[in-house]
């Protein structure tokens, strides 16, 4: 199967590969897996406690090129966004950006799940209710 140029680019030059300190209160960690292919993806975010802006994001993914590209793109996209904004990123946007074929849609789903899981972890650590907008004012 031919990968799109964008997938190849992210695969060959993945952005933000690495690890953030899991025990830090400012860091949220999402670990998700796709049963279809055995992929496992870890995405971490570092959130500024004052502004709730995601200042840094790192990932490590074991899986196919599309899974790596999806998570690489996800880290690029969440950086600089507020937590509330990052929650609105959808897998269909990732599919569009990377021109993923239908058989690789689950990779983008995985990346979205990873973002949500990382934010969920951060919220839990900081006692922010799940469905509640993370920051009053940022939700509108």
């Amino acid at each position: 199967m031919a990968y799109s140029d964008k997938v190849v680019d992210h695969y060959e030059n993945p952005r933000n590969v690495g690890t953030l300190d899991k025990s830090s209160a400012e860091v949220g960690t999402g670990l998700v897996g796709a049963p279809e292919c055995g992929d496992v993806m870890r995405l971490q975010i570092k959130v500024n406690p004052e502004t709730q802006v995601i200042e840094d994001a790192k990932f490590k993914t074991f899986g196919c090129g599309s899974a790596i590209a999806s998570s690489s793109l996800a880290t690029e996209w969440v950086k600089g966004k507020t937590v509330a904004e990052a929650l609105s990123i959808s897998n269909t946007e990732i599919v569009k950006e990377l021109a993923l074929p239908p058989v690789k849609i689950h990779c983008s789903v995985l990346a979205e799940d990873a973002i949500r899981a990382a934010i969920g972890d951060w919220k839990k650590k900081n006692n922010v209710a799940e469905a509640e907008p993370a920051l009053a004012g940022a939700s509108a």
Binding site: L31, G33, P35, E36, V40, R42, N91, I105, R116
Partner: protein, 202 residues
């Protein structure tokens, strides 16, 4: 005609595979092309078609996993589709999606993949770390064990499903279906892990 109907069976999952094999041979003889050699072309074609349906049905039903997957398919369950929908629901509700693969298993899978990567790099560099290899052998045994355990759990769900079919309890049917979907997903995850470890240790 479903594969169950080919054998005149109800859509249940506990299945006597010895009896299935016997039916298969009996029906195979019945539709064997040799018996239709002197018959009109349409009859020959019909027999060939039946014979091929019979083969597909037998191959699917005799395998416990494929049988379960097939049943879920006939019930309209699409494993991947479910995952996409669950993500969409989570986004709409502003909640976290419930992961099909349990967190502790994911942690283990991640750790295992890190070790696999290490082994591959060591191999590429020309050396083989015996301790790493030992760890991976242990991990492989562990995941193989989990894989077998998941099969047992799946069989328990068959019992629930079959009972619900008998009583016509749709709620119980749905519950069993959901459990089976989760177990099949977990299984395929484990199977992929075992395959990857196996390949790395070759």
């Amino acid at each position: 005609m479903t594969y169950f109907e080919v054998f005149g069976l109800p859509p249940k999952l506990q299945l006597d595979t010895a009896a299935l094999e016997k039916s298969f041979y009996r029906l195979s003889r019945e539709f064997h092309p040799d018996r239709f050699a002197s018959k009109p072309a349409e009859e020959q074609a019909a027999a060939t078609e039946k014979s091929s349906l019979l083969n597909d049905a037998y191959r699917t039903l005799r395998d416990p996993i494929r049988r379960t997957e097939y049943l879920l398919e006939t019930e309209g369950v699409e494993l991947e589709e479910q995952s996409v929908k669950a993500t969409e629901r989570a986004r709409a509700a502003g909640e976290q999606k419930k992961q099909i693969v349990p967190p502790d298993l994911l942690e283990e899978a991640f750790e295992l993949n890190m070790q696999l990567e290490e082994l591959k790099m060591a191999k590429a560099g020309g050396d083989d770390d015996p301790q790493l290899r030992k760890d991976l052998e242990a991990a492989k045994a562990n995941f193989t064990g989990l894989l077998h355990a998941s099969q047992k759990q799946l069989e328990a769900e068959w019992t629930s499903w079959d009972a619900a079919v008998d009583t016509g309890d749709n709620g119980a049917k749905d519950a069993a279906k959901d459990e089976m979907v989760a177990l099949l997903n977990r299984r395929s995850y484990l199977r992929n892990l075992v395959r990857d470890v196996h390949a790395a240790l070759e």
